[in-house]
């Protein structure tokens, strides 16, 4: 089993490496780093631009292959992702910013999964009843709303709430208020900043997961082993949870991994909306600024997340389903 998981991990690792390299090549082809300087006033001399770009290793006049090789060997042997257009180290920025992003992403996807599963199970058990209908329609509504619209809507609600209470209970710009003292205050402040973006992300996740969980659960509800569990003396509810939900979770583990990508995309926009300085903002900005190194690094970040979540999904699947354990 361990061998199998390691093999899968290596598989995924190779895949994400290829994805990153291809992303770099793509970024080289699509982005034009010179454009950033050409529009300046006064326009820097060609020599100056070339000098800067050579230093960054992103001069479009060099052949792509040699640039890619250089970039790649730097990463492999020195863990160095190069520099951004303003000479700050990509690796450093990536490290700091992914800490910010992961807070939101992990909390959001965890809560989303939790509530999604709960709502899905609840909907399945109460199939076609009013409560099931309400859950169904509201989750479609959430899914149909773009994430940043959802974010803005939540901000409006929060503003009204704050006004009503007459106090800034819910914060929605940045991830903390600078200059606070005392552990308790800082903690409170963090939570109050985290609340809204997390809510938005987990609403989105929950809406999506609940649809899948409901289907998985409906398949399981009429299964013979639920009847067996009840004939043993489990009550309807207990049989449903102990035997039903447990089995219905199995297909979800693959789905968690698969939908993690959409959550990353969602959180990218949310960071922008809530002015969080995370990897999402980093990625968007790097594209706008024609920064090849930073763009490729953002893709690397995403592919690593997908790598980890896919491997976790495999582990989860094996943990949940004895039939696939070898």
């Amino acid at each position: 089993m361990i061998v199998y998981l390691i093999r899968r991990f290596i598989n995924y690792a190779i895949l994400s490496m290829i994805a990153t390299v291809m992303a770099y090549v793509l970024a080289c082809l699509a982005l034009d780093p010179k454009a950033r300087y050409l529009g300046r006033n006064p326009r820097p001399s060609d020599e100056a631009i070339n000098h800067i770009l050579n230093r960054l290793g992103t001069n479009p006049d060099d052949p792509i292959l040699s640039r890619t090789m250089h970039w790649f060997t730097q990463i492999i042997f020195h863990g160095n992702f190069g520099q951004e257009y303003n000479y700050t180290s990509v690796s450093h920025d990536m490290f700091v910013r992914s800490g910010v992003s992961l807070q939101l992403l992990l909390l959001g996807s965890f809560l989303g999964a939790f509530f999604g599963v709960a709502l899905g199970v609840w909907g399945a058990v109460r199939q076609y009843k009013a409560s099931d209908q309400i859950v169904t329609y509201s989750s479609y509504l959430v899914l149909a709303t773009p994430v940043f619209v959802l974010g803005v809507l939540l901000m409006i609600v929060a503003t009204n709430f704050n006004n009503a209470v007459g106090h800034q209970v819910i914060q929605f710009t940045g991830q903390y208020t600078p200059g606070l003292n005392g552990t308790w205050n800082i903690l409170q402040d963090r939570v109050s900043h985290l609340f809204l973006p997390t809510l938005a992300l987990s609403m989105f996740g929950a809406a999506e997961y609940s649809r899948y969980q409901r289907n998985a659960m409906l398949d399981v509800l009429s299964a013979d082993y639920i009847r067996t569990a009840r004939s043993k003396g489990r009550t309807r509810g207990a049989a449903m949870v102990r035997h039903g939900v447990r089995v219905a979770l199995i297909p979800m583990s693959t789905y968690f991994a698969y939908s993690f990508g959409t959550l990353i995309a969602g959180s990218t926009f949310l960071e922008k909306v809530f002015s969080w300085h995370g990897m999402g903002e980093f990625a968007l900005d790097s594209i706008i600024k024609n920064d090849i190194n930073a763009t490729a690094a953002s893709i690397f970040y995403v592919s690593v997340l997908v790598l980890i979540s896919s491997t976790l999904a495999e582990v989860l699947y094996a943990a949940l389903d004895p039939r696939v354990r070898i």
Binding site: D224, T228, K232, T235, H243, R246, V247, P322
Partner: protein
């Protein structure tokens, strides 16, 4: 209440409201089960057997409307809520279900699932103690190496073993009542015999009363004390096993008993068909529900439904004419006379040419693993060198348990191409020499009828189109097609006017007749029948078997009749070949093999078949096989039956050696042939 019966069902009715009608699944039934009693409930599919017992368990879907009363030791179960009922379920009343493959939760070990039942009802029990008891229970139900297997997951167990686990769960808390709903229907006969044995043992250990639901009269004949026959949601006859089997009073019971082939008497007399099907439960006629199929119905039968009336001590039947039957004025033979065989004048002349000759055919499948780099992880010898022949007008029965290679054999013949190894000759022509056109022409001569009549017919085509389908392949004009279809439907006992209807409008038996009509369309010489009656209700089987017998006589057909039901094979076949793990282990004339089986496997197979006759069944001695079929990928040296062979076990070690090392070949013993080294020493008795 101390002397209340264990279970008393009073005027129980269960309705399922549908969109614009109501299905009356169970109608006003009452019965009593006493402590330690064994009640068999029989009836055909849809007669309400499962629904009535699920009502006792309180496990009906919420859409069900239940009325009447169910008293367990004097306490009303219908008044209890789920929580209170849960305390009884698994503790006082336990249930075993039909399909063992899906009845266990796939994600918990079997040990956990047994312990779960124990812990639920005994809060003082430690986990440790429950686990120990689970091992003990597995041992009781006959799982080998229970200490190790207790940690296994359900998917690691075969169907028979899972059903044993279900029995272990059922008896875990020493219940007073065990309800078993078709516990052996999905299993092979030798496994069925094992499971019934375990069920009897469980009953002895717990002293529980048992309700065994089945459609197989043979299964209850030997086990039950009392029998209840259900028809269209009603109890139509109840009484002791002897009363019901020997002195049935309700025409339905009578017909049922005369329609099932009996391993002992099969082949000597014709079966009595019980035509028609039960009325639809959402539109019941006012009178007797059996009226349409009853040969002795009178006008009064159409007016009111006859109640269950006593005809003797604890023997009741629901029939207006039961008193006449009781008085002997109406004999069973008058009610359901045996059909006459085809008169000699109408029988086709057969010359006895060889129609099909199969010589040493092999079919191996290699199992591979890996998506890109396939590596071989095993070989399944699905068919491993089998030979047989069928002459004109002859029926060869090919029997064996699931997985022994029957279907692969058929497919290999139907391919009409040269087999992996060996040769197949049709009408003396080796199929490997055929050109494409010749092959198409040959396909006319050899047709097939499948097991599941519903799956085999395209639901969107009319019967006429379905039957005519083989003709279109062989270029027959439209007008000729229509005329031929009419003839064919007539031949199989359907009306030509039914041609414009669709398959779903027909009953299972009728659909199988349509399948036969289609197979006959090209005037084949050989029909391959793959379990043609096993998906049909017993009452319907007889009609189809008789039809097949008649067709054979009249048209001079030959059949390769594949079945797992030995009684059916004995009824219809002239020769029989018994398969085990890809080999024929015994073959010969039906009369010889069934009278004097020589191979221990044939003996075990025969002794596992339940006989619908309580006297015969009680005096039988069973040869039970140990364990399951070995995995098909196992490499077995010597005789492939040695791991389960009952003869092997009683042999002298010096003789056993030969079984372990030398693969026995078919050889002539008496008048048949068997593949066993020590058949001459075989003193195992079969009845």
């Amino acid at each position: 209440m101390v002397n209340a019966p264990l279970l008393e069902v009073r005027n129980l009715s269960v309705d399922f409201p549908q969109n614009n009608s109501t299905v009356h699944a169970v109608r006003d039934i009452s019965y009593v089960i006493n402590r330690g009693e064994f009640l068999g409930i029989v009836g055909e599919s849809g007669s309400g057997k499962s629904v009535s017992s699920m009502a006792v368990m309180g496990l009906l879907p919420s859409s069900a409307q239940v009325s009447g009363d169910i008293l367990f030791r004097g306490e009303s179960l219908l008044d209890m809520d789920d929580r209170k009922l849960s305390r009884l379920r698994g503790n006082e009343i336990a249930m075993i279900f039909q399909d063992p493959l899906s009845a266990l939760t796939p994600v918990y070990t079997v040990g956990n699932q047994i312990a779960e039942g124990l812990l639920l009802h005994d809060k003082a029990l430690s986990k440790q103690a429950a686990a120990t008891r689970a091992v003990e229970l597995l041992r009781i139900v006959g799982i080998p190496a229970p200490e190790r297997r207790v940690k296994a997951f359900p998917h690691e167990f075969s169907g028979g073993m899972r059903q044993r686990v279900m029995i272990a769960i059922a008896i875990a808390n020493n219940p007073n009542l065990i309800i078993a709903d078709e516990p052996t229907t999905a299993l092979d006969v030798t496994i069925q015999a094992q499971i019934l044995e375990v069920l009897q043992k469980a009953k002895e250990i717990t002293g529980a009363a048992v309700v065994l639901i089945t459609h197989d009269l043979g299964v209850v004949a030997g086990n039950a004390d009392r029998i209840a026959v259900m028809y269209a949601g009603k109890l139509v006859e109840t009484g002791s096993v002897d009363d019901v089997f020997n002195r049935p009073h309700m025409p339905y019971t009578l017909g049922l008993l005369r329609s099932v082939p009996n391993l002992i008497t099969a082949g000597k007399t014709r079966l009595v068909p019980l035509e028609g099907r039960p009325p639809s439960l959402d539109a019941l006629p006012p009178g007797c529900p059996f009226e349409q199929r009853c040969p002795i119905a009178i006008d009064a039968c159409r007016e009111t439904e006859p109640p269950l009336l006593s005809i003797g001590s604890s023997h009741e039947a629901a029939c207006l004419r039961a008193p006449e039957i009781a008085a002997g004025q109406l004999q069973a033979a008058d009610v359901f006379p045996r059909p006459e065989p085809i008169p000699a004048a109408d029988q086709a002349k057969v010359e006895g040419r060889t129609v099909l000759e199969v010589t040493d055919v092999k079919r191996y499948f290699t199992l591979t693993r890996g998506a890109v780099f396939k590596r071989e992880i095993g070989k399944v010898k699905a068919v491993d060198g089998i030979s047989f022949d069928i002459h004109e007008g002859e029926v060869l029965g090919l029997v064996g348990e699931s997985g022994c290679g029957k279907s692969t054999t058929i497919l290999e013949i139907l391919e009409l191409t040269s087999p992996q190894d060996g040769s197949i000759k049709i009408d003396g022509v080796d199929v490997s020499t055929l050109t494409k056109d010749q092959r198409l022409a040959k396909r006319k001569d050899i047709q097939v009828v499948f097991q599941d009549p519903m799956a085999a017919l395209d639901p969107r085509l009319t019967i006429e189109d379905i039957v005519a389908e083989p003709l279109t392949v062989h270029n027959v004009s439209k007008a000729d097609q229509r005329r031929r279809v009419g003839e064919l439907l007539d031949t199989v006992g359907l009306e030509a006017s039914m041609g414009s209807r669709y398959p779903h409008e027909f009953s299972g038996g009728q659909r199988q007749r349509i399948g036969i009509a289609r197979a006959l369309a090209t005037e084949p010489k050989l029909l391959i029948l793959d379990e043609p009656v096993s998906a049909l209700d017993v009452s319907i089987q007889a009609g189809v078997i008789n039809l097949l017998e008649d067709l054979k006589e009249r048209l001079g057909l030959s059949y390769l009749f594949v079945a797992h039901d030995l009684a059916v094979v004995r009824q219809i076949a002239d020769k029989v070949a018994v398969m085990y793990l890809g080999r024929i282990v015994e073959s010969g004339r039906v009369a010889d093999v069934f009278a004097r089986p020589h191979h221990p496997y044939t003996q075990a197979l025969m002794s596992a078949v339940p006989i619908p006759d309580p006297d015969a069944e009680r005096s039988r001695k069973r040869i039970l096989l140990d364990g399951d079929l070995p995995s098909p990928t196992d490499e077995i040296s010597g005789c492939r039956f040695h791991s389960r062979c009952p003869l092997f076990k009683v042999l002298d070690p010096s003789l056993q050696q030969r079984c372990l090392t030398e693969d026995p070949q078919l050889r002539v013993i008496d008048t048949s042939s068997a593949a066993c080294h020590h058949a001459e020493l075989n003193t195992l008795q079969v009845t």
